[in-house]
Point group: C2
Chain length 201, copies 2
Amino acid sequence: MSTNNGPVESLRDRKRRQTRERIIETAFALFMERGFDVVTVDEIAQRAEIGRTTFFRYFGDKQEVVFSTEDDFLRALTAAMHDAPAEPLQDLAQALATSRRLLLAICTEAARNPGHYAVYHRLVEQHPELEDRHTRKTRHYADLLEKHLIDHGTPPATAVLAAQLTVACYQAAWRLGSHDATAVLREANDAFDLLLGATAA
Amino acid sequence: MSTNNGPVESLRDRKRRQTRERIIETAFALFMERGFDVVTVDEIAQRAEIGRTTFFRYFGDKQEVVFSTEDDFLRALTAAMHDAPAEPLQDLAQALATSRRLLLAICTEAARNPGHYAVYHRLVEQHPELEDRHTRKTRHYADLLEKHLIDHGTPPATAVLAAQLTVACYQAAWRLGSHDATAVLREANDAFDLLLGATAA
DNA sequence: GCGTGTACGGTACTGAGTACCATTTGGAAC
DNA sequence: GTTCCAAATGGTACTCAGTACCGTACACGC
């Protein structure tokens, strides 16, 4: 996937990427070992062999390390949006069909790294403050979804609801398919079936 | 509503309630005036004429002041749950009908104090960290909803989805009916109509 | 090699939240 | 009213997250 990163990777870029990865690995190890809240930034910095200041140059705050894979998901989403067929998106059912496909693109991306997802899931469910931040991410996806729908002709009220319903399916899947990215993907599909099955009945 | 609070209100209880209210009023005034993040707890404590320590005795953290009306909503929800008719709750449509009624009970409670709601809405939408916490509240409601459904015979997967869909309708309403509690109540109703309308079609 | 900009580490600061202290004060029993 | 007790309070001191600033080292382009 990311074997071709721009022109060439300079020494500086490589070092930067390496320290970033070292921070992430160190932090995740410590968080899983002893819990997010009791691990201090100082500790992470020491073990990763960097200064405290440097940590905050790479990540805005302590929580941000946990959400470091965010960019991959956003890339997957925007790619899926770009590939989306230009179909009519007037009513709720049509809007849901599209946003379903977009959500599944994100889940599929998550399933590409099941180990990381499992750890992430565990951390988030054990720490309310991380769960808060996790739902902020989800809100952001909803915003992007909503915008995409509106840009393709969906009436605002319908688009807002469709985006939120999609998030609802994801949240349900998150609760039901814990720790396992593939299970979450399947549960999200089931949730949509259940939701749309009610539509068909 | 709350004219009969237990046996009798002692002097101690009255003083406690008064300081609590003084803290809330002071904090909201300062937050609205200058923004949540730049107001310090020291400042709130000084203006409310209490010690910094006392502030944290009344509220676990600075954010908690913003969500001080939480208890009223929870009371309204549990009351509505208790009053709910014992109807069959097997399929998604039935579960949604019930959770719709419960959600509207909460919104109605919120509409009883429109001024506060408007300020609350404004604060939350202007500060991501408060929005994080706001959705934590919403998650909590979803949990209660889900439990209620399961306790009344709804299959777990259906209950989880129904609870999340209800939250979705609320979130859509929150976005569409900004600042105005009555408008949010109406939008939540509309969202359910749209959702169930797709069901009927 | 030689400037230049970027990354880095260190110090010092503010503010949130916690732990512990002594003091005050309301309530109750006599 | 006095006495005793528990609850409420205010203050001090601490840890840690996050920010601002400064001097230094190093990769890069020439």
